[in-house]
Structures are given as C-alpha cells and as structure tokens.
Symmetry: C2
Subunit: 157 residues, 2 copies
C-alpha cells in the first residue's frame, strides 16, 4: 500500500462515527468527537486546538469537555507556567461508562420495585410481571459488576 498511515482521513471518519455513536446514546455529538479524537491522538490537547481541529466553537468544546470530565471519560491536565487547560483520555473511561450504565439501571429497577410494593396484595399478574422485569435488571446489574471485577483484575481500561 502507498500510505500505511494516512491518518487524517481515517481519523476524521472515526471521529465523526464516534460523534454519531454518542448521539445515539443521547449525548451531544461534539462530546463524541472530542472523545474520539483524544482516543486517537497522542498527548493532551488544548481547548483552542480542539476547537480548530474539529471546526467547532470554543464554547462547545468548553461545555463538552466539562461534560466528559464529569463522567470521568477525559481528564483535565494543567502545566506549570501555562495558563491553558489541556485534555486527555481518562484513566479508565470504559469503567466510567460501565458505572454510568449501572447507575441508570439501578434507577429503573428501583422504579419497578417500588411500584410492585405499592400494589401491595392486589393485581397479582401485574406484580408478577414487574417482578420478572426486576429480575432482568438484577441479572444485568450483577453482570456489570462481574465485568467490572474482570477488568479491574486484568488492569483497568
């Protein structure tokens, strides 16, 4: 092949794909692009740098880096003698995502469970259906926990 590492186009298409992927998870497209770019590029990137590279306003980058930071998917890095903030991929973005998923599931499980309790001793069919749904979420939760352990052993990601 003529160019084993023509990164620019490849990277760009990946970054866009990550943007769309994030959108499906009801997260801002730009957050996905930032995350995707930081996954591929070496070393921390500044806000201005990200804005130019992604052709997006600094405001958007500022907002979305903060979002990603809160979720533990990227980290803010500062250097002595440099006023700027830099961003890089977090310590274990994957685990943060599992954690987030776990949280969401717990909420829905709680909703089902409290509803079943409220039905007290009437509507046995409904209670049974609710219980079944709860079991699914419980299995899902314990599955995530299991994955968590498995990954923490091998080394975090």
């Amino acid at each position: 092949m003529t160019d084993a590492c023509s990164r620019e186009e490849t990277i760009q298409s990946f970054v866009e794909a990550m943007g769309r992927d994030f959108e499906k998870e009801s997260m801002p497209r730009i957050a996905g692009r930032v995350f995707g770019l930081l996954l591929l590029e070496t070393g921390p990137h500044g806000l201005q740098q990200l804005a130019e590279r992604l052709r997006v306003s600094r405001a958007s980058v500022s907002t979305n880096t903060r979002l990603l930071e809160e979720r533990g998917m990227i980290e803010r890095v500062t250097l002595p003698g440099d006023r700027r903030d830099y961003y890089r991929i977090g310590e274990a973005p994957g685990l943060s995502m599992l954690d987030k998923a776990s949280e969401r599931i717990r909420v829905t499980h709680q909703l089902l469970s409290s509803m079943r309790y409220r039905l007290a001793d009437c509507a046995p069919e409904a209670r049974s259906r609710l219980r079944s749904m709860e079991r699914v979420y419980e299995a899902f939760l314990s599955a995530i926990d299991h994955a968590f352990d498995e990954l923490s052993d091998t080394g975090p990601a």
Copy 2:
C-alpha cells in the same frame, strides 16, 4: 389504610415515570407510557382504549405500539370476529431489551476494533487505548450473555 388499592393515581404516576425513563433512553415518551400501562393492567388493550386512557392521539399509539412490537416488548393480539388489534406485554420484554443492548454494544465495539486495525502498525498508544476500550465492551457483552443464560434457566422474563 383506607384504600390499599387506589390504583388510578398510583398507576398514572408510574406510567408517567416510565415515559420519562424511556425518554432518557432516547425513545418516545409515549412508548414508555404504553409499555408502563400494559405492564400494570390486566388483559390486552385496544388502540382506541390506549389513546383515551393516555390522552394521546391514535396516531401516536399506532406508531409507538409498532415500535414496541418491533422490539419484542409488546405483542399484537387479534380475536376471531373482531377487526381490532389488541396489545399486551410481550413474552419476555426483558430479554428483548438485553438483546437490544447487546446489539448496540456490538456496533460500537466493531467501530473501535476496525479503527484499531486501520491504524496498522503506527500509533501504538492509540492502538493500546482502543484495545482497552474494546476489552470493556467485550466484558460487557459476555456479561449480558451470562445474564441471558441465567434468566433463560430460571424462566424467561
């Protein structure tokens, strides 16, 4: 307590909560309400019936029941000598949801993996980060499979 089974209000608040919950999963709010109602109520419900009960248009119910049906979360029921369609909770809505989740994860995993392949033998750091992310998704996938088995044994839900 005076009324152990004052269902109406309780049901309504649950139905609305399910609507909001579905919205967080980037699904239409009405789909969540339909699913929530069918979880609680006994026996299949007609389209008109659902529309009135939820105070939404028949068009919305039609669209969203089809969506839920495609996902295997509810079932369409027909009766001999009755032109109408009725809907009830699916055989195993929970498993369908796990299946859907599994599908989504596979897509992202594929995205990461193909990108890593494209990077061939350059950008070792990036490749390593991608590989780490892949491992998380793999663990997640196998976790879901595990949950699947566990539930299929006990009896589907």
